[in-house]
Amino acid sequence: MSAYRVTEHKRRWIVLALITIVIACLLSPWASPHPDGLERVAEDHGFLDKGTAVNELAVIPDYEVAGIPWSVVSIGLAGGIGIVIMVGVLFGVTRSLTRSGGDRIERRTNGLEGIDRT
């Protein structure tokens, strides 16, 4: 039986990074403006107007950076900012997970390796 794992070819990850930037910054302004599945259902069944937004402090509501007259630029910028935030947040969270639990897992894996080698 064959196993699969994530690729170690650096080039493929670089391509994914480029695709991500292109989608977030260049493609995002051309997304369909139509309501999505849930909004469609809410509209058809008359509860769309029940939707509110508790978070009034949102910096970039609806993916448009305020104060920019061209929506292509303001949405593209919102996408660019978003991918930077995502990388930052996930890098921080996952790194702190590898660090805080590091010692414990290190010992456990070493133990297992010891058994494997004998």
Partner: protein
């Protein structure tokens, strides 16, 4: 499929917030055990891709659109615990920075598009991979992503019905109906991206298909 504030009543959003917070805490603990340090930048990059891809609504059936969610894709790549953490991070940033998805509905969104999406997708992917001995990986990826979207939409429908918005049968028919179409797009993106980012490993692993088990030792 991001639930805004106001769609869920108090008992529903308070319950889902508590359960969602518990689920995230638990998966942080589980992810800690499965996480390899060298994967950290890759996970961050895939998370950014998920965020970007979720911005692209594609038109379906006239005046409706759908967008990628990504739970199954991330879970196939890194396992469902890390998958659910990535999805939670995406939903958090969307709700806090972009007002996309409600704050009171965050728990519900984390449970439906995060946990249901990741675990239904990953579970069906792994079961089918075992059943067919790894043959037809692309089709299996497509099907499990499609199934995860349908399951997530059923989850949202149940929460809406539980909130007294409309009755369960109507909610399920409407939500599942639309998301059977939207899931087609989810399937294709999941199939293409996992196909591009994964490779056959020559290493024989215990259990055969353990994506996480391939190189556990920390170099």
């Amino acid at each position: 499929m991001h639930i805004p504030d106001g769609f869920l009543d108090a008992k529903t959003w308070i319950t889902t917030t508590v359960v969602g917070a518990g689920a995230v805490t638990y998966s942080l603990r589980q992810a800690k055990l499965a996480l390899e340090p060298k994967r950290v930048p890759l996970i961050a990059l895939v998370g950014a891709f998920v965020f970007a891809a979720q911005m692209i609504n594609f038109p379906i059936a006239g005046a409706t659109s759908g967008h990628f969610l990504g739970g199954t894709m991330v879970s196939i790549l890194f396992g469902p615990w890390i998958g659910s953490i990535v999805m939670t991070a995406v939903l958090l940033v969307q709700a806090i920075v972009y007002q996309d998805g409600g704050i009171t509905a965050l728990g519900a969104n984390v449970l439906c598009t995060g946990f249901i999406g990741c675990f239904v997708g990953y579970g069906s992917y792994m079961s089918a991979m075992r059943l067919f001995k790894g043959k037809g990986r692309a089709i299996i990826a497509w099907m499990s992503a499609w199934l995860s979207i349908v399951a997530a939409s059923a989850g949202v429908a149940i929460l809406l019905a539980f909130s007294g918005t409309f009755n369960l049968a109507t909610a399920l028919t409407a939500m599942v109906g639309w998301h059977m179409l939207i899931g087609i797009g989810e399937g294709f993106i999941t199939m293409l991206v996992t196909g591009y980012l994964m490779e056959r490993s020559a290493v024989m692993t215990r259990g055969g298909l353990g994506h996480e088990r391939v190189s556990r030792n920390r170099a």
